[in-house]
Amino acid sequence: MKLKILPPTLRKNHRYLAIDIKSQNEISKDDLVMAVWDACIRFFGECESSNFNLWIVRFYEINDNNDYNHYKAILKCQRGFEDKIRSSLITLTKFKGSYISINTLGLSGTISGAVSKYID
């Protein structure tokens, strides 16, 4: 049986980070999830990372003429922890033996806002 959805006042507030990913090798959405969690847990530990409520909502592959694989994504996180997530994401350098770099493009309160402002 499915749990009843919480009333809006009891729900957690979210923010959406638009992120830019450069990777030496091709990565999938699942790889990105692992990389993001890895970065957060490495930098802040398990206890602090449990507050972040991270979720990859959208994942885009960008086809441009660069010598790296370029992706963009929308990362859902809990409001109030955006700074910590941004700081931990930039500490990631390698994933599965290849170079990776994650930079934040911007922050938005809605998915559509993040997509229209930073992805399109």
């Binding site: 490495r42 910590k84 941004r86 700081s87 930039i90 170079y99 990776i100 770099s101 930079n103 934040t104």
Partner: protein, 240 residues
């Protein structure tokens, strides 16, 4: 205006590529860092690089930085005097105690880069901090050291950063924050970097000093260095 005074320079094409990426990510001014191996080569193409980077969509000011890497204090003094008039920014790679001390005592040197390099402590104490403050030698904290280490090594470097920050608060020497990028995956968004240093324990004003005001003051001071007769005495144009 965000300044990154430490991007590793290699050759024209790679430097231009890094400059483009830095400009896209929001940096306004960068300094390419050359050492003895590629300094002569850099003199040849640097003017072209400066012109090209001003034509980006987000124009980027590019500066020239020479990094002295030696363990000999006398050699360090000699090199700093030799290149002082030719190059805008002169830095010294720290780590060796004698080098750290000489750098802090020499007014010709602008930046003491990574005094904690390959050390178990932060590389400066209250004596060196006072000297650095007197001679306006900036101490550089390089983000690259965090990127290239992990687990206990990273924690130790973070501890060194915190020790330098506490000395900076007490003695007020200039502190600059840099990325130390060597290739495209190392260049980070300046806002993200600010958040990182905030998590380490720097206050917002200190981060602003480290990324904006201190590097700007260094560059402006060196542009006027030829007019300085003594510390505090400056030759000015009669019609200024």
């Amino acid at each position: 205006m965000f300044y990154d005074l430490n991007i590793k320079g290699k050759n024209f094409n790679e430097d231009l590529h890094l400059a483009k990426e830095a400009s896209l990510l929001g940096w306004n001014s960068v300094a390419f860092n050359y050492n003895d191996d590629n300094l002569d080569n850099a003199f040849e193409y640097f003017d072209t690089l400066q012109e090209e980077s001003l034509n980006f969509n987000n124009p980027l000011n590019v500066d020239f930085r020479y990094e002295i890497t030696t363990n000999n204090s006398n050699h360090l003094r000699k090199l700093s005097r030799k290149y002082r008039d030719k190059i805008n920014l002169i830095s010294v790679l720290g780590g060796h105690l004698k080098v750290n001390r000489t750098s802090c005592e020499t007014i010709h040197i602008d930046i003491l880069s990574r005094p904690y390099f390959k050390r178990k402590d932060c590389g400066i104490n209250h004596v060196l901090a006072k000297e650095a403050a007197n001679n306006d030698v900036a101490i550089e904290l390089c983000f690259k050291d965090i990127l290239t280490t992990y687990l206990s090594y990273r924690s130790k470097i973070l501890a060194n950063f915190k020790e330098i920050i506490s000395l900076h608060r007490k003695f007020d020497f200039p502190l600059i924050l840099t990325s130390g990028s060597t290739f495209i995956y190392d260049i980070k968004n300046p806002v993200d970097l600010s958040y990182f240093f905030k998590e380490i324990g720097l206050k917002e004003e200190e981060i602003e000093e480290g990324f904006k005001n201190s590097p700007k003051n260094l560059i402006n001071f060196n542009k006027n260095r030829e007019n300085l007769i003594l510390k505090g005495v400056k030759k000015i144009d009669r019609f200024d």
